[in-house]
């Protein structure tokens, strides 16, 4: 890990766009329920940002707004200064946001390798005609996707499972394949929705190392929703706390730990 400069230092010195992701005043209602209420925060490039809060605080709702699966009633979301307001869900991967889901959503009838190759879909150019007649351009792109998928699978330490059907994997393996699929979109920002959920102690430790190497080796910014406090606090450069759809704290893990509202809303029940 040593020798790879962190993006954070590079970005702050170079004066590049200071924030990768800006969430501004995002409000989301379901009927009479306000799931997100004026949520505002930003994510600096090259960092791991933890998004925490009690169940029902609006974390997954916010992820779904970022993926354009939901359209916020108010507010704006910008990636590298570009608003996502007029984007369709399928545009998001191409713009540089990859994601995983709370319970792994693999394409169960496909092989592990093909699952990860779908992650590269947005970068592809092959259409039905080039595919139908396997033109040279089609074959070249397939080889490239193959390579991306295999390297990504190696990165999540599942290189040996490439040809297995996705349905045959254990829960922990499924989560890692889903992570590989998100990384294969070659994102600037990856959204991880409870990556530690359902994992045992050792698996959580491995996951922590993996998420760090996503930031340090792949230089991908991470936005992490997680209930595992130990993991979030040890990994995150920045922590945003949501409660009842509002941001109640935003800062380093140490700063957030000291905010009384957070202790009351969330940590207080545990300590």
């Amino acid at each position: 890990m040593s020798g790879v400069p962190l993006r954070t230092t590079a970005a702050s010195q170079g004066g590049a766009p200071a924030q990768l992701l800006e969430v501004a005043d995002v409000t989301m209602r379901f009927g009479g329920i306000v799931a997100l209420d004026g949520v505002t925060f930003s994510v600096a490039p090259g960092r791991i940002t933890g998004l925490i809060g009690p169940n029902g605080a609006g974390k997954t709702t916010l992820f779904n707004c970022l993926s354009r699966l939901y359209r916020p009633a108010r507010g704006d979301i910008r990636l590298n200064g570009r608003s996502l307001a007029d984007c369709a869900p399928a545009d998001i991967a191409g713009l540089g946001i990859g994601r995983t889901f709370q319970s792994p959503t693999l394409f169960d009838s496909l092989s592990v390798l093909d699952n990860v190759k779908i992650g590269a879909h947005a970068r592809g150019r092959n259409g039905p005609l080039t595919d139908a007649f396997t033109l040279p351009s089609s074959r070249r792109e397939e080889r490239e996707f193959d390579l991306i998928a295999r390297v990504t699978l190696d990165f999540v330490e599942l290189g040996g499972a490439a040809t297995r059907p996705a349905a045959s994997l254990t829960f922990a393996q499924r989560k890692r394949v889903e992570l590989a699929r998100a990384l294969a979109t070659k994102p600037a920002l990856v959204l991880l929705d409870e990556p530690a959920g359902g994992l045992n102690h050792d698996e959580v430790a491995q996951l922590g190392a993996l998420i760090r190497s996503i930031r340090d080796k792949l230089e991908i910014t991470v936005l992490l929703v997680e209930h595992h406090m130990g993991l979030v606090m040890s990994l995150s450069d920045q922590v945003v706390v949501l409660n009842f759809g509002r941001v109640i704290a935003d800062g380093t893990p140490e700063e957030v730990r000291g905010v009384p509202a957070v202790t009351e809303a969330y940590l207080g029940t545990r300590h």
């Binding site: 959503t105 259409g127 295999r150 290189g159």
Partner: protein, 363 residues
């Protein structure tokens, strides 16, 4: 890609590459042998048997089209008889009214099928499962009467077509020539379908079938690919319809009843909806089981047909090819225990030495 990635990748490809090559060579040999056999077959059979097998291949192309839509993209259609009719009538009208040679009617029939499928695929985006079945059923129900309505379709009587002559000098008769002609189209159809399904397009189709939301999150434009699946599917089925018109030498509204649409779905399910080989099994079922049922009982052929369907689906719920594939894979595993064990140990090695394998960078 940096050098590290390339090195890892080439190393990966080398492992097991030899085994894959050998299996590939065997497969290629088996396929070539099958094609030679299929091409030689008509010369040992009666004229009627040759005609029947030609029909089997035509149905196989139609079912292959349906498999692309239903098996690989998860959209059900009870209306493919209508698209089969569209292809048949395109060929018939072009031959009958404009004197177009039979072989030249296939591209226009394909185009008509594709365009109709796209038109149908757009409203289909709003429906799923049983609701989509109902919408497509409308197509099947409306087809025969719509065809009767227009004069250029020959109305109730339909159109009689001159049966195409075999190329002179080849020394084969008309039935055997048409058999070979249809065989070539079937092989092209299978190849094109396999290429599509193995490429970016087919992967996107299957991803949508398995999990549409995750597919969209990975950048798959789901409405576009679902519509495209519809058009591609009906293109195949319309080409089959054109071949049927050419081979039978006759089209009439009653040839494209609701039952034809249902037969395609039955053939698809019996063969295995998400398989390519299943389409051929389906072709055999559609062509022979009704006749076979008739031979057993003049009084109740459809009861026998229904019973045959039940038996097939009970014994092989994933269709003949869908069920035999896993069986064959299991047998291969039993026959090559050493290789299988090697794969497992390679996998566990990989898992226990994370530091070695995580050098690659995503470029």
């Amino acid at each position: 890609m940096n050098d590290g990635t390339a090195a890892i990748a080439s190393e990966k490809l080398a492992v097991g590459g030899e085994a894959r090559l050998r299996i590939g060579a065997w497969r290629r040999f088996a396929i070539a042998a099958l094609i030679v056999l299929a091409a030689a077959l008509p010369f040992g059979l009666s004229n009627y048997q040759v005609f029947e097998l030609t029909q089997v291949m035509i149905y196989a192309i139609a079912v292959l089209g349906l498999n692309i839509l239903t098996g690989y993209n998860g959209q059900i259609s009870l209306g493919h008889g209508g698209f089969f009719a569209a292809g048949g009538y395109t060929a018939a009208v072009l031959m009958h009214r404009y004197g177009v040679p039979y072989w030249a009617t296939l591209p226009p029939a394909a185009l008509v099928g594709f365009a109709l499928g796209l038109l149908f695929g757009l409203p289909a985006l709003r429906f799923e499962g049983p609701y989509l079945a109902l919408v497509t059923l409308a197509m099947a129900v409306a087809t025969p009467q719509t065809l009767k309505y227009f004069s250029w379709t020959g109305g109730q009587q339909g159109l009689n077509l001159a049966k195409p002559a075999p190329p002179p000098g080849l020394g084969i008769d008309r039935d055997r020539w048409l058999y070979l002609f249809v065989l070539v189209i079937l092989l092209v159809a299978i190849r094109v379908a396999a290429n599509l399904l193995n490429g970016r397009t087919g992967r996107a189709w299957m991803a949508i079938r398995d999990h549409p939301i995750a597919a969209a999150a990975m950048g798959v434009d789901t409405p576009r690919y679902k519509t495209l699946a519809f058009g591609t599917s009906t293109l195949f089925t319309a080409v089959a319809g054109a071949l049927a018109a050419i081979v039978v030498g006759f089209v009439a509204p009653e040839s494209f009843s609701l039952f034809l649409s249902i037969s395609f779905l039955v053939g698809s399910a019996v063969g295995g909806i998400a398989t390519i080989g299943g389409a051929i099994v389906g072709g055999f079922f559609i062509e022979f089981v009704p006749n076979f049922a008739n031979d057993i009982s003049d009084a109740a052929p459809w009861a026998i047909y229904g019973l045959a369907m039940l038996l097939f689906m009970y014994a092989m719920p994933r269709g003949v090819v869908g069920s035999l594939g896993p069986l064959a894979a299991w047998l291969r595993g039993r026959l090559r225990p050493a290789v299988a064990a090697g794969e497992i140990s390679a996998a566990s090695n990989n898992a226990s030495s994370p530091q070695q394998t995580s050098q690659g960078r995503l470029e």
